[in-house]
Symmetry: D3
Subunit: 68 residues, 6 copies
């Protein structure tokens, strides 16, 4: 059995489903029964997720302004 939690940016439903299927296939490949494998996607706002002390939303804005 396995529970996969992914924190990522927003995706559309088709991409979510393809991502979920592929992640599940990986776990099955390494011994986790398919029906005992769960995936939960946490789509996190770029205002709430930061690297290097700066939210990704602001990092993107700075990159766009060329002031990163």
């Amino acid at each position: 059995m396995a529970i996969i939690r992914v924190e990522l940016g927003a995706r559309d439903q088709a991409t979510r489903e393809a991502l979920i299927a592929d992640l599940t296939d990986v776990m099955v490949k390494y011994g986790s029964p398919r029906e005992s494998t769960q995936v939960i996607l946490y789509e996190v706002s770029m205002d709430l997720w930061a690297k290097g002390g700066v939210p990704y939303s602001r990092r993107a804005a700075r990159a766009a302004e060329g002031t990163a």
Copy 2:
């Protein structure tokens, strides 16, 4: 002390409160002081939660169509 996190489908507020109270009672029964026991509910969309590589929303749709 104890911190309980529950991932579950959406519930109304009355059910949430009853669920929270009962989960807390269980922890108190096993030695966690009531005021040091926290519960956080994470209500996850069925589009984002999958078992066997398929989101629960799609599993439900298939079951309804009789094509599960």
Copy 3:
């Protein structure tokens, strides 16, 4: 379905099993199928878990010395 994660202090196996059974019963009572309900216990060291800026291990030591 529901996934319950509990952060708590160490327990013996008998207490773990009783705790798991009771938490599961609560989720079943509120609509989560038994076989779709999972519980994971995270037993956290008191050296690594803090309240008010002080690890619980040190809070306990202070309380024992009467210097809390």
Copy 4:
């Protein structure tokens, strides 16, 4: 490297950014490279977060009514 997750009540974006910057500074102070330090804020509804078996929203209402 470090990944900090904070569960807290809602904050405005300016406070989020100041909080993120300060938390990151702490991790850098203790040896985590700035660009390998991530912070994710989980702003939890007071209806879904409980202490002592009662959601914080209801605890606040009771306190306001003087019936805590």
Copy 5:
């Protein structure tokens, strides 16, 4: 960017590394830059992980005794 957390049973290091590489490839395939993709494996003891109210260790023992 993406952070994948996997709760699973214990694996040897070679399997861990293969699993990590494959999970990362999936995230890269769906738009997460490789160097911004992290994976953390939480290998959970079967005494602490339960389904249907019973730890997996006990479920396995019952299955072996034919008393599941």
Copy 6:
């Protein structure tokens, strides 16, 4: 109130306590009552934590060999 979870590499107890105190001070500065602020440190093995598809332990080994 706030619950901070930090995934990081191993630290000695003195560093843990200083880190916990400083993180708590940050949350108090932004409105979380001290005694309602908890910190939990998850010290993750470098064999189980990966970036770019490679565990940190192996990344370090490659860097040491100059083959990163």
